[in-house]
């Protein structure tokens, strides 16, 4: 598959308040292209436990931002590293990064394929 897939889509689920840092750090590394959208997520911790009088209340879907960055294979590690560092607070809920293979990639404006 390595030979066939030369680009990767990095799907990073991050805390909304870390977006600015991720954007800036990617920019510094010359990585501008990205697509983001609002999501909600729960992780292995099953959300956040709120102390609530006698009992507790569980808020299980927490707002996050999904950042999708498509990069050539060679830039994968660097990009993942940058995002990880910029998005990390060290506390539960920092999120995940999933890397998906991209078979092909096109620029709509020109119709050309990007490699």
């Amino acid at each position: 598959m390595k030979e066939m897939v030369s680009m990767m889509m990095i799907c990073a689920v991050i805390r909304p308040e870390r977006l600015e840092f991720v954007k800036k750090d990617l920019e510094k590394a010359g990585i501008y292209g990205m697509t983001i959208f609002d999501v909600q997520g729960r992780g292995d911790q099953k959300g956040i436990q709120l102390q609530y009088r006698g009992g507790t209340m569980n808020v299980d879907l927490i707002p996050k931002i999904m950042v999708e960055v498509v990069v050539p294979d060679g830039k994968l590690e660097e990009t993942v590293g940058i995002i990880t560092n910029a998005a990390r607070t060290g506390k539960v809920g920092d999120g995940r990064i999933f890397v998906l293979p991209v078979m092909k990639s096109f620029r709509i404006r020109t119709g050309e394929e990007i490699h």
Partner: protein
């Protein structure tokens, strides 16, 4: 004195207009916070309205307008509105209507203070704070300025509440913010207003309600009310424009800047509305916009998280207004002269009145917040704050 129906009609509707300002503050503030605290911010204003409404008819009115005790506070003669006849009195409007009119001033004042609590207050502590604050801070200040207290005796002029409402709430918000501490993440990442149109809606309703606030304070439907109405509008417009253009020089002219300037102008004209002319109101409004804008920039630079700028707009705008009243009061309007007409005494009285309200509100609020914080905790937990108050305090979500 027999009831005059025109006077009464104007006071009835003025009361309704001022009532609308409390939810309007909720929407104004609600648009400025993050999405996860929108409901909370509006809910706080409703809670304030409900709590203070009950406190006022039971206790507050009597503390503010009951028989004077040493210039400091009213007695309990009107506890539970005892001794107030709905129909008769020595005014051209029914006494109960004055109770209602003053009630809505007490509520909106309290609502302004929520600025200092934004996005981090525990609901139960807030309920307690409201009941104590309105009793210990608002009621005495209302007595001082309007109920026969010592600043009234001093001759300090406050037409519609520059000291009682704005200085007190603005500096109270500052004290609260100092005690409760910054929002987590403040200064580290931007906390953008999540719904600017709702803030604009709140601003529109505030501007609308303020006509009842200032022109209603004439307590009559006459030339004085008309003067108060027009200078109120003019000062608001002037404040909106001066903040707009000042911020335009530094960057983009934001709509939030414009409405903040309008509120600044409204605040500053509040104590002056029954004493100054239209040309003076332009000066007062322009200066208010510039001053409050500068105070806001200073606050942000200082890393102070008095989150929704009650201090810079109401506190400092109110201070300027109280001083400006001492400067610009024109005998032609209402028989009182200020510094410009050579009356230094008026100026001094107004400065004293303003500083006394400022000091009293700040100190007592600080102690109150501090004590509540130590005893039951003013602030939600870190998790609750992260999830947002809508969910953690109300179990609701936008």
């Amino acid at each position: 004195m027999s009831i005059d129906s025109g006077t009464t009609a104007w006071l009835l509707i003025s009361t309704a207009l001022v009532m609308l300002m409390t939810p309007a503050v909720g929407f104004f503030y609600g648009g400025l916070v993050r999405r996860k605290n929108f409901i909370s911010m509006v809910a706080l204003s409703f809670i304030v309205f409900a709590l203070v409404s009950i406190q006022w008819v039971i206790l507050g009115y009597s503390l503010a307008f009951g028989g004077d005790i040493g210039g400091l506070i009213g007695n309990l003669q009107h506890f539970g509105l005892e001794g107030l006849d709905p129909g008769q009195g020595d005014t051209a409007y029914p006494p109960l209507l004055f109770v209602a009119f003053q009630l809505v001033f007490a509520t909106v004042t309290m609502a302004i203070v929520t600025s200092g609590f934004a996005e981090r207050v525990r609901l139960s502590a807030f309920v307690l704070f409201v009941l104590l604050w309105t009793t210990l801070v608002y009621d005495p200040l209302a007595h001082w300025a309007w109920g026969g207290g010592w600043t009234m005796g001093l001759g300090s002029l406050d037409f519609a509440g520059g000291t009682v409402v704005h200085i007190s709430s603005g500096f109270a918000a500052l004290a609260v913010a100092l005690v409760i501490g910054k929002r987590s993440g403040f200064g580290q990442y931007t906390m953008e207003p999540h719904n600017i149109p709702m803030t604009l809606l709140g601003a529109g309703l505030l501007w609308f309600g303020w006509f009842g606030f200032n022109a209603g304070s004439a307590l009559a439907a006459n030339g004085l009310a008309a003067n108060a109405f027009l200078v109120t509008n003019t000062s608001a417009a002037a404040g909106a424009l001066s903040w707009l253009f000042a911020s335009w020089i530094r960057g983009k002219p934001s709509s939030l800047g414009m409405v903040s300037g309008a509120i600044a102008g409204l605040v500053a004209i509040t104590p002056a509305a029954g004493f100054v002319t239209v040309p003076a109101s332009i000066v007062i409004g322009v200066a208010a916009g510039l001053l409050c804008y500068a105070c806001m920039l200073w606050r942000i630079n200082r890393g102070l998280d008095e989150s929704l700028d009650a201090w810079s707009i109401h506190g400092m705008g109110g201070l300027w207004g109280a001083i400006a009243t001492g400067i610009f009061a024109a005998a032609a309007v209402n028989g009182f002269s200020g510094l410009i007409e050579g009356n230094l005494q008026q100026f001094v009285a107004n400065v004293i009145g303003a500083l006394a309200a400022l000091a009293y509100a700040f100190v007592v609020t600080y102690i109150l917040a501090f004590v509540i914080d130590r005893v039951i905790g003013l602030r939600v937990s870190e998790e609750e704050e992260y999830v947002g108050l809508d969910l953690s305090q109300h179990g609701e979500r936008v």
